[in-house]
Amino acid sequence: MLNLMRLEIIKFKLGSYIKGAVIANFVIVGLILSIMFISKFEGSTDFNNYQEVLTIIDSSVRGTFIIFAATLIAKLIIGEFKSKTITTLFMYPISRKKLIAAKLAIIILFTFCAIVITNLFVTAVFCFISESFQLLPDTLTASMITQLVPSVFMNAIAASGMSLVPLYFGMKKYSVPTTIVSSILIVMVISSNNGGFSLNDIIVIPIALALIGVGIAYLAIRNIEKIDVH
């Protein structure tokens, strides 16, 4: 399985995705900081405490990498069917289930790791700068951090699950645009924030979406040995 994942990475030169993720890290940091600095200079009171800003960081990170995952799905799975390279792949003496599972594993692992690492990185940079420049009225406490860590992890797990939902739409007609657009819709549902309230806070919604994503992945694998590949 690990070997299959390694081959997928070589085949699609996925190293460039890590580069993309790093760039995304810096863009998110830049965005958050510029918002904070602008609101400080304008004297606006949009952001009063760390809790609010950390939520915004978390949801923008998740949004970014759910769409990232959709591009991976488009490349690793949809693209293989579309360009017919799947016929080459399925003629190897390896179970089709394993081949697809390896691809899904890469997508899930990448999404999960990217969300956790980016969250930690952006939060750390933000907190450091915020403390140095007094961007927020309240102060950072140790209990905030200890509360933050489990919620970041839980959200990352849920996001990794729901990042698979676009697979369902993409596989209908092997369409890359459909895959990406459906991921953007999911992000709009999950990461929108109205006055501090987000649908992601209703715990049932992220869990349900994550389960649907896992279900879709299961369906994709279940019947793969029976289908005709043209």
Binding site: L7, K11, K84, P93, K226, D228, V229
Partner: protein, 307 residues
């Protein structure tokens, strides 16, 4: 007699339409099996069923003495294939492509990569991604990929498409060598008879999803018919004379000027004498053998009528 590949009433239905109908094909070990048929006859579909990409609606396939099922993955290790046209992960170079292929096939003799690239004459492509290759180069790389793991069965679907005449000749020789010296069984498809004729030991003729006939080349060579072809200025009149004066029944008016006489008892001399006496101008007269092409055209057209 045991066969390396054998299908039994193999049938495939798409949307209520039978694209492959009850095909029973038999491929002997160590032979080149030519698969001949017009475009869209079902050659590729059958080959995809043999490689387990497409699942039969009914009937079954036996390869290496085993029945093919959804989970038959091990037999794929013993096959090399090009189906339809060679498909690659086209950002990789030729060497990377073969390297990846070997990894997936579980074949670890990396020295072979240079060897096969030499064999198919695909050299000096270092650093060039496959997407920049010409069709002929892709075809060569596809063949290299198919043979690198030294398979027991080679399935080649229209492998000579896009190659120049020199390339076709080289590859034809290569296939013969692979078959005769390495004992690789080859199933090769084409819609060009001339190609198949020069390589195959057995020919399977397919049209409209039916295997019309399966014959060994030896048998075909025996069953060829001789005839005398006469080119005259007035074909109808000549035909009348042949029937009326020489009492020949077995002849055919091909067009206004050309007549073919299938009766072996009459000589060219008799025919020309009779025609000249009736003042018919003869432009040419010669004894000919019916070509393989005629033989297959007959088969294929016959198939259309029956279908």
């Amino acid at each position: 007699m045991t066969y390396l590949v054998q299908t039994n009433q193999l049938t495939k239905v798409y949307g209520g339409k039978e694209v492959i109908s009850a095909v029973n094909m038999h491929v002997k070990k160590g032979e080149i099996y030519g698969f001949l048929g017009p475009n869209g006859a079902g050659k590729t579909t059958i080959m995809k069923m043999i490689t387990n990409l497409i699942k039969p609606t009914s009937g079954d396939i036996e390869i290496f003495g085993e029945k093919l099922t959804d989970k038959s993955y091990d037999v794929l290790k013993r096959m090399g294939t090009i189906i339809e046209y060679p498909i690659f992960y086209d950002k990789l170079t030729a060497k990377e492509t073969l390297d990846l292929h070997c990894e997936y096939m579980g074949y670890y003799d990396k020295k072979e990569i240079d060897h096969v690239l030499n064999l198919v004459k695909l050299l000096n492509t270092d650093g060039k991604p496959v997407k920049d290759f010409s069709l002929g180069m892709k075809q060569r790389l596809g063949i290299a990929r198919a043979i690198i793991t030294k398979p027991e069965l080679l399935i080649l679907d229209e492998p000579i498409n896009g190659l120049d005449p020199m390339g076709i000749k080289e590859l034809r020789e290569l296939f013969k060598v692979l078959c005769k010296e390495y004992g690789i069984t080859i199933i090769i498809s084409s819609h060009i008879l001339g190609e198949i004729e020069q390589m195959a030991d057995t020919i399977g003729v397919i049209n409209n999803g039916r295997l019309i006939s399966e014959v060994s080349m030896e048998n075909i060579n025996h069953s060829q018919v001789d005839y005398i072809e006469v080119i005259v200025d007035d074909g109808k009149k000549a035909a009348f004379i042949l029937g009326d004066q020489l009492h020949i029944a077995n002849f055919k008016l091909i067009d206004d000027h050309c007549i073919r006489i299938y009766e072996s008892s009459v000589s060219q001399k008799m025919i020309s004498k009779a025609l000249i006496e009736q003042d018919i101008g003869i432009e040419a007269i010669s004894r000919k053998t019916s070509s393989l092409e005629d033989y297959f055209m007959k088969l294929i057209n016959g198939g259309v009528v029956n279908a």
